[in-house]
């Protein structure tokens, strides 16, 4: 038997740059597919206001490509507008798709906020920015790091998504790898087939019974466990599967995974779902509002 995580929410991690509408739609569709609630989590890191408090600070605006003095008031207003815009976009998209949604603004450092809010029953969505600069500089790297360190499952959306249809690929390092059950759930909901990449030596007669239980076609491929350490080799191994999503358990790529999940998602141009391994630390109570736990007032 593989452990099956009972997911409750899809949490979209947002920060002070306005989210991409396509990304929001993908998140809402994913929540709808799994019949989960969609939650927009706008993290307002107080540290991000620090630049405006330095005398002579200025920002280079992408729109207009010019320098502008950076002032605390205008920066605060811009962040609030970002939150407002993100909220409107999320609400409208969720309403259009008929997905239950809520939106929270959390004023805390990224890592703290992510740790406090996300739970084992959450799927946190991290969308890779299109702009390389945004990917390289704060706060995106911090957001990714915080998400991967949280108790939640993480859905990493690469910049470009090649296809919206195709089988779901599960990379399993053991017969009871949690990725199997999650991948099966997603494949069944999406009415797709499931392809299991088995990076373990399986006893011939002991075919896992989780995959296929939902009545979906299941195919299996074997790769060496060591292949997971080399993302390019792994990508070549699964070349031609034309998958729509990869599901893998955290730690499958080696100690700490590093940036390999993101790299595999980018190489394959498909979303990658990073599932918490079995026996991961229990999460905090699910229904407690994040701001209460953080002891800060809710702003939106």
């Amino acid at each position: 038997m593989t452990a099956r995580i009972a997911y409750k929410r899809v949490v979209m991690g947002l920060h002070q740059s306005t989210p991409d509408r396509t990304t929001v739609r993908l998140a809402a569709e994913f929540a709808g597919l799994l019949r989960l609630d969609l939650m927009g989590l706008f993290i307002e890191d107080p540290g991000m206001l620090a630049p405006a408090q330095r005398p002579g600070a200025r920002e280079f605006q992408l729109l207009g490509r010019r320098w502008r003095p950076l002032e605390p008031q205008s920066l605060t207003r811009d962040i609030e507008l970002c939150a407002l815009s993100a909220r409107r976009m999320l609400d409208e998209t969720a309403k259009t798709l008929g997905v239950p949604s809520r939106f929270e603004v959390v004023r805390a450092a990224l890592r703290e906020a992510m740790k406090a809010v996300s739970q084992a029953s959450d799927i946190v969505i991290i969308a890779e920015p299109h702009n390389p600069a945004e990917r390289a500089i704060a706060p995106f790297p911090q957001l990714v790091k915080a998400a991967f360190e949280s108790a939640a499952t993480v859905l990493y959306l690469p910049r470009r998504i090649a296809r919206a249809r195709g089988p779901v690929v599960a990379i399993a390092t053991s017969p009871d790898d949690p990725s199997l059950a999650t991948a099966e759930t997603i494949a069944a909901a999406a009415q797709e087939s499931l392809i299991v990449i088995e990076a373990f030596k399986r006893e011939a007669e002991a075919a896992p019974d989780s995959a296929g239980a939902a009545g979906i076609p299941v195919a299996r491929l074997s790769v060496a466990r060591s292949a997971l350490g080399d993302i390019r080799s792994l990508s070549s191994a699964i070349d031609g599967l034309r998958e729509r999503m990869i599901v893998v358990t955290r730690g499958a790529f080696g100690e700490g995974d590093g940036d390999k999940p993101a790299a595999l998602a980018a190489l394959q141009s498909v979303p990658l779902l990073l599932v918490e391994p079995a026996g991961a630390p229990a999460s905090e109570p699910a229904n407690e509002p994040a701001n209460e736990r953080l002891g800060r007032p809710e702003t939106a």
Binding site: Q16, S17, T18, G47, M48, A50, P51, Q53, R54, P55, G56, A57, R58, E59, F60, Q61, L62, L63, R65, W67, R68, L70, L75, D78, I79, L81, C82, N131, P132, A133, E134, R135, A136, I137, A138, P139, F140, R159, R160, I161, A162, R163, A164, D239, G240, R242, L267, S269
Partner: protein, 813 residues
């Protein structure tokens, strides 16, 4: 002539029975019922018109279109259509026409001609092409090869940017500076071990240290600015590269399906050219198949107008697929401009009216192109713009789709200007003669465009041979309309009625639709009597019922006369009063009605006053007839003295106006009676026009007029002295009702043929009209003597008035 007229009315004897009604002569045909007769196809008695149609259809020159004039009727048109269809068999099947998108100028759709029947093949080939591409293009664009190429371009771009930022970040980190994303852009901050130095700590630093940091930040800001300014150029290079890869990929995806389409329809030069344009456009607009990113989902299409794949479809305007491969013969019953020249439809999409080449709809000219188009002239002329548009099309020899709303300047919607389509059509206009002659007089172009006139006869000669032909034609109608066969007597009555319809005992009508209607009604009545074969009684019943249904006004009119509301005497005699006869024609039903005409005379200046004219109730022809009376009087009586008469004539109890001169003889008799103070018989009614010499001339509606007076007399009781005076020239027109004929046969009614006024006045007064003797005077006791004596007295009165004397006693008659 009046000079040779008989001295008395003795010659005005009643017409013999055989002159009142001419029975059909079917001696040339041996049959019991029409089932025994050989049918006659096509039209009968119309050789002149049919020859014209043959000429018109045979001359392949511009302007040799046909204008068919004569009695309108569905059967006539059907027969002409049959002639046209036979002519169409000698013409080649017309080409198919389609409209396709003009990729360079979408507002000007391209018309393409294809061999007959191949439009559908072209349309289907394009449909299959698009369906194939819907599968092939996304497949190619989702292939690993494409994704890899595309991914490598993106990666290169990303890498280029990433490296630039990484370099900057590294350079910044080396100087303890970090780059931070703000909601609207980027900023640089002093850092310690990768973390931003809190503002309070930074502000606590010595000023020179803060200045150094600020200087470093300013240097790095320039680097940041430089990188960001480079991004658009990098992005452009990326897009160009992706476009190049997309084009190459699309080329691969499109080539094979296009080649298959060329295989099917590429032998047609313009189609091949269109396929080239399609290929180029497909490559240019590949995103509609694969989404904007080249890796997304294809756009939605469906059959909805405005869908992304519309541009590649084929709008089949006309195709031999729908016909029988022969030249078309089309009749357009509602020739509005759109129905004639085609139209461009619009649909509302999000509050905006949109259109494209798929919404071009054909008109009758498109449908008839290469063949024949039949149009009703009256319908054409009553539709705004249609007649002019037809003439333009015939002159230009091409069909230009014209938008009515644009013509009247009421539309600002963007519309299309489709390629005009070459026109090669024979137009046949149907209209009555009056319309044609009127049109000819006001539109000189009618002769330019309709050079051949097919003049259909209203009737044809009534001979035993033609009666036999008409009988066979009746048999044809019965067979074609699936009506019961007719027996011999019934056919005879139909032929006799055909003569009555022609208003001439010596003619047979060619208003075949009228005959067909009677046959249908007779069939109904035969069915009501459960007869297998239509008998004469059924035809009689049909004719009587037709009259009964339409005769409400006639009955009311007669009722008023019988009730003495409208005053008409049918016995006795009276000075200056006579029964004239008129015909009322309403809704296709005509009936005769007697009208009392009276006259008063006084000494005067020789003027005959037409009261109808004075009050503007008389038409010009009627007024002309009255003026002729003065001419008659002057010529006959005022030879050596000035006419010193003032007379007034009126149609009593006439409130609706009088037109025509058929009452002029009656008015003259009344005038003579008033002058001569000799009473006229009231048991007679008179019809006929007169000239200045006193000759009585033919009029129309003789049968209806006789029957109108007969009905009144019959209702009051026939006395044997009653009758009607008709012009002798009208005798040939008589086809009177059975009851009238029977009454005449029994001597209870009479029809008198009258050639001159002398004859008529003698009959009406019982006195001879009179002929001037050697002494230059009319004989004593004659009507004219009395007239002349009275006129002389009037002249003396006028003279005495001129001298200031007396003489007023003779002022009134």
């Amino acid at each position: 002539m009046a000079e040779n007229a008989p001295e008395t009315g003795e010659n005005a004897t009643p017409l013999p029975i055989e002159r009142l009604y001419r029975a059909a002569d079917l001696s040339k045909l041996d049959f019991k019922t029409t089932a025994d007769l050989e049918p006659v196809e096509g039209l009968i008695g119309q050789s002149r018109a049919l020859d014209a149609i043959t000429v018109g259809t045979g001359i392949v020159r511009q302007g040799f279109n046909l204008f068919a004039i004569g009695p309108a009727g569905a059967l006539t048109r059907k027969a002409v259509e049959q002639v046209l269809k036979e002519a169409a068999e000698d013409r080649p099947a017309p080409t198919d026409w389609v409209y396709v998108n003009n990729f360079k100028e979408p507002q000007k759709p391209i018309a393409i001609a294809l061999p007959a029947g191949r439009a559908a093949q072209f349309r289907d080939a394009m449909g299959e092409l698009i369906e194939a591409l819907k599968a092939a293009i996304p497949a190619v664009f989702q292939s690993e090869e494409y994704q890899t190429r595309r991914g490598s371009i993106d990666e290169a771009f990303q890498k280029q940017q990433s490296e630039a930022f990484a370099e900057l970040q590294k350079k910044a980190a080396a100087q303890s500076i970090v780059i931070v994303r703000t909601p609207l852009g980027f900023t640089l901050m002093p850092a310690r071990e990768g973390e931003v130095i809190p503002p309070n700590e930074f502000n606590a630093l010595p000023e020179d240290e803060r200045d150094k940091i600020q200087a470093v930040i300013e240097t790095l800001e320039k680097d940041l600015e430089h990188i960001i300014h480079q991004i658009p150029q990098w992005e452009k290079e990326r897009r160009d590269e992706i476009r190049r890869v997309n084009t190459e990929t699309a080329q691969v995806a499109v080539e094979q399906p296009i080649a298959e389409a060329v295989q099917k329809v590429g032998d047609i030069e313009r189609v091949a050219a269109h396929l080239d344009a399609v290929q180029a456009d497909l490559i240019e607009n590949i995103s509609i198949f694969v989404g904007q990113a080249g890796g997304g989902e294809p756009a939605e299409s469906g059959d909805m107008i405005g869908g992304p794949f519309d541009r590649y479809e084929v709008n089949v305007l006309v195709s031999a697929e729908a016909g029988d491969g022969r030249a078309p013969v089309i009749e357009e019953l509602h020739p509005t401009l759109p129905n004639l020249t085609g139209r461009i439809e619009h649909i509302a999409r999000q509050g905006v009216l949109i259109t494209n080449f798929r919404l071009i709809k054909p008109g009758a000219l498109h449908m008839a192109n290469g063949g024949y188009l039949m149009l009703d002239a009256r319908s054409l002329l009553t539709e705004a713009f249609s007649y002019q548009a037809l003439k333009r099309a015939l002159r230009q020899k091409k069909i230009v789709i014209e938008d009515v709303s644009r013509l009247v300047g009421m539309s600002s919607t963007i519309s299309l200007e489709p390629d005009p389509i070459p026109l090669d059509v024979k137009v046949v206009l149907f209209g009555d003669r009056v319309l044609y002659y009127m049109l000819s007089s006001i539109d000189p172009e009618i002769g330019e465009h309709f050079k051949v006139v097919a003049d259909f006869e209203d009737d044809f000669e009534r001979s035993p041979e033609n009666e036999a032909i008409l009988a066979r034609f009746v048999a044809s109608i019965l067979a074609r309309e699936e009506l019961k066969a007719m027996d011999r007597d019934a056919v005879a009555l139909v032929l006799e009625h055909a003569s009555r319809l022609a208003e001439n005992a010596g003619k047979l009508t060619l208003m075949v639709d009228e005959i067909r209607d009677i046959l249908a009604e007779a069939d109904y009545w035969a069915g009501a009597e459960t007869r297998e074969t239509v008998a004469r009684a059924d035809v009689r019943k049909a004719l009587d019922e037709r009259i009964r249904r339409a005769a409400r006004l006639r009955d009311r009119s007669q009722e008023m006369i019988l009730d003495k509301v409208a005053l008409i005497d049918t016995d006795g005699a009276r000075v200056g009063q006579l029964n004239g006869l008129s015909v009322l024609s309403l809704g296709g039903f005509a009936f005769g009605r007697p009208s009392r005409i009276t006259c008063q005379v006084t000494p005067g200046s020789g003027k005959v006053v037409d009261i109808e004219r004075e009050v503007e109730l008389g038409g010009p022809i009627h007024s002309k007839g009255v003026l002729i009376l003065a001419g008659f009087l002057s010529g006959r009586f005022a030879l050596d003295i000035p006419m010193s008469l003032s007379a007034s004539l009126v149609f009593e109890q006439s409130y609706g106006g009088v037109e025509g001169d058929s009452a002029s003889s009656a008015e003259l008799y009344t005038l003579l009676s008033a002058i001569a103070e000799i009473p006229l018989r009231q048991d007679l009614a008179v019809t006929g026009s007169v000239n200045q010499h006193g000759d009585v001339q033919a009029i129309g509606g003789a049968n209806d007029k006789i029957e109108g007076f007969f009905d009144i007399c019959n209702a009051r009781g026939l006395t044997g002295s009653q009758g009607v005076l008709i012009p002798e020239a009208n005798v040939r027109h008589l086809m009177l009702r059975d009851d009238v004929v029977e009454a005449c046969k029994a001597g209870r009614f009479a029809v008198y043929p009258i050639a001159t006024i002398d004859q008529g006045i003698a009959l009406l007064t019982g006195r001879p009209a009179g002929t001037r003797g050697a002494d230059g005077r009319y004989p004593d006791g004659s009507v004219y003597r009395a007239v002349e004596d009275r006129l002389q007295r009037f002249a003396e009165i006028r003279r005495s008035f001129g001298r200031g004397g007396e003489g007023g006693s003779e002022a009134k008659s």
